[in-house]
């Protein structure tokens, strides 16, 4: 059978080389795989959801089994998600697995990115794949936000409203852009079907295409590796794709799906029946977005009330925290490989990875950036945090306004210091210490023999 195929397609040589491809044997190389397997789960569950979802903002009267909403006017989209949740067998578990998989997908991408960053895996020759990776992260975030808004419930409607307000805040083009995207002044009935097209057609095609490019470049360039014994700039030390890595990855794929199934089955997420349908005159409180968008909302909450009008041009207050800040953040992230090469003057090829302590400045920058993300995320839930600690929300906001400046600076200094200490005290992990030969002297002491 295999011979029959090979005689027609001639794939055996290619397959043999592929099966012998060497994978470095380290757990941190599996983070990207977790993201990949989440994507598979997302596609499978997503196809199921699409069979039942109705992308339509027309008002209908809810008449399903959820008593508190019966008789209420809801959109056809909301109605279809309610039906999917309560009347379609296995509908709710598919929805919850899909939502959890989306959250874990973005999380796996971010942790994978952090691994790449802190070990310097983005350096030459891998700058292109870093750029592809950043593109994939942005696509994943856009997928998350468009998907989150599809059920047309009160919480997601609030999210869309804030996005609309941030878009119209862009000087000169904001109102035009917002009207193009939303089809008019918020809220518009068009937005639901538009989000649907993006979420199930355009973005998945780009995302899957991007993942294929990401993997093709990886295979072409071969893996980077830690400085394990035997590893050099010219080789890859690890285990062959077949059978070791195939089994590991297959196992990991199934386990990822298992964990997502467990989460989807046991942990409630996005209970739209508790939020109710979207209504332009009400808002749920507290209102928090999915985890990966919390920092953007947090920036909006912390930013001081500054709205400048000069020469008849107004810079609305959401512009700086809502557009400029994420723009700069993603800009620096995108350009990091080039910035670092420019600053350090290191344009050489690197197949061997750094330990974080070996590059104190890079590590300190990374930690500071992470701390900004953490504090802004906390700020995105400042009302909830204030409730937990029993302080007024105003005090919480003021504390976080100080923290957003102080904590990353402190983290930067501390990380730099710790890395230097660790680096000065010990060699890089994985590097072998040079052996020393000793001779016992007649007096009973020891003396070192110079290597010959």
């Amino acid at each position: 059978m295999l011979t029959w195929i090979d005689e027609r397609l001639g794939l055996a040589a290619w397959a043999r080389a592929g099966l012998r491809k060497v994978f470095p044997d380290h757990w941190s190389f599996l983070l990207g795989e977790v993201a990949l397997f989440c994507l598979v789960v997302l596609v499978l569950t997503g196809v199921f959801l699409t069979l039942f979802y109705v992308p339509d903002a027309t008002s209908v009267t809810y008449s399903g089994p959820w008593a508190p909403l019966r008789g209420q006017s809801v959109s056809a989209a909301f109605d279809s998600v309610m039906r999917l949740s309560f009347e379609v067998r296995a509908g709710l578990v598919m929805r919850q697995i899909h939502h959890w998989a989306a959250l874990v997908f973005v999380a796996a991408i971010v942790v994978h990115l952090l691994r790449i960053f802190f070990t310097g895996a983005f350096r030459r020759p891998r700058e292109i794949n870093w750029l592809v990776g950043i593109g994939l992260l942005l696509l994943a975030l856009t997928m998350g936000i468009t998907g989150y808004s599809l059920p047309d419930d009160l919480l997601s409607g609030t999210g869309l409203r804030v996005i609309y307000s941030v878009v119209i805040a862009i000087p000169f083009i904001g109102p035009y852009l917002a009207f193009l995207v939303f089809g008019g002044e918020f809220p518009t009935p068009e937005i639901i079907s538009r989000l649907f097209v993006f979420h199930v057609m355009l973005l998945p095609a780009l995302l899957i295409g991007g993942v294929l490019v990401h993997l093709a470049i990886l295979v072409r360039q071969k893996h980077s590796q830690y400085a394990v014994p035997g590893a050099t700039e010219e080789n890859v030390v690890g285990r062959a794709f077949w059978p070791s890595q195939v089994f590991k990855s297959t196992g990991l794929a199934i386990l990822t799906a298992a964990v997502l199934a467990l989460m989807g089955g046991l942990i409630q997420i996005n209970p739209i029946w508790a939020y109710g349908p979207f209504d332009a005159t009400t808002v749920s409180s507290p209102a928090q977005p999915d985890w990966y968008a919390g920092w953007l909302d947090g920036a909006l909450r912390l930013f001081p009330p500054i709205e400048i009008t000069a020469l008849g041009i107004t810079i609305p207050s959401p512009f700086i925290p809502g557009v400029l800040l994420p723009g700069v953040a993603f800009g620096v992230m995108t350009l990091w490989p080039f910035l670092e090469a420019w600053v350090t003057g290191d344009h050489a090829e690197h197949q061997l990875l750094d330990g974080p302590r070996e590059k104190p400045l890079r590590t300190a920058f990374g930690v500071a950036g992470l701390l900004v993300f953490v504090i802004l995320t906390l700020a995105g839930g400042n009302d909830v945090v204030a409730l937990v600690f029993g302080v007024p929300v105003e005090a919480m906001t003021n504390i976080l306004r100080v923290a957003i400046v102080a904590v990353p600076l402190l983290g930067f200094g501390l990380t730099y210091r710790i890395c230097r200490e660790l680096f000065d005290r010990r060699e890089a992990p994985g590097q072998r210490r040079a052996s020393v030969r000793l001779r016992r002297t007649a007096a009973g002491g020891f003396e070192e023999i110079e290597p010959d």
Partner: protein, 281 residues
Amino acid sequence: MNASRGVALALAVSIAGSLALVVIYVVGGSIQQQGIGLALALGGMGTAIVIWAVALIEAPIEIEERHSFATGREHAVVVDSGTGTQEISRRRFLARLLAGAVGILGAALVLPAFSLGPQPGTDLFRTAWRRGLRLVDLGNRPIRLDDLVADSVTTVFPEGFVGRPDSQTLLIKVSPSDLALPSDRAAWAPEGCVAYSKVCTHAGCPVGLYRAKEHLLLCPCHQSTFDVLRGATPIFGPAARPLPQLPMEVDADGYLVALGDFPEPIGPGFWDMTHTPADGG
């Protein structure tokens, strides 16, 4: 006619087609015109590339041996990639023309995206409030001044526009002696009744929480806080502008009626919000 001229002509047709597409889109031409424009733009470019390939690129006939697919044989690949590129760079003018034609066609093809939304026009400057429209609640009942209880909050709309998002307004009754409105708005608060836009001036959320004891309106989205007694000026949070106040009075039957639209744009800010919209207010 030599081939180079043919290519240039075809590219010119393509450019003309793309430009025609832009014109047709802007002035709103017929479907036939759109189809023909696009066909010219693409057809010209396709023709140019085909002529280029057939007549301008000197590609000798080459022979590639067919090989067995069975494993182990070397793959024989005979490609002289140099010839084609040299051909293209030699014809620099045509190459530039081709790049220009591609760019213009690309721009023409982006235009249909503008069908996605209307021009903002005056939408962001105006709501449904007009002089003489009565204030009604969500159940479409007009509001009588005498029926309002102190420290009550009602979401109201202009009569005939119940539920319209940009016109949602909060009607609050406070003690008239506590009010400290700017002097030009003192008449807009009959017997301590004030009406403010319910759309937050920060990110557009409905300002849904009222702390009656302190007379503060709180937006649940980003915690902007507005002082009801002082013309809804922001006192905490990221909002920088007061909630616009609705001018209103009591009519002969004791009902609250609007005296006009909000004096400034409601909701989140945009760059030209301080301009007066073209067709007046």
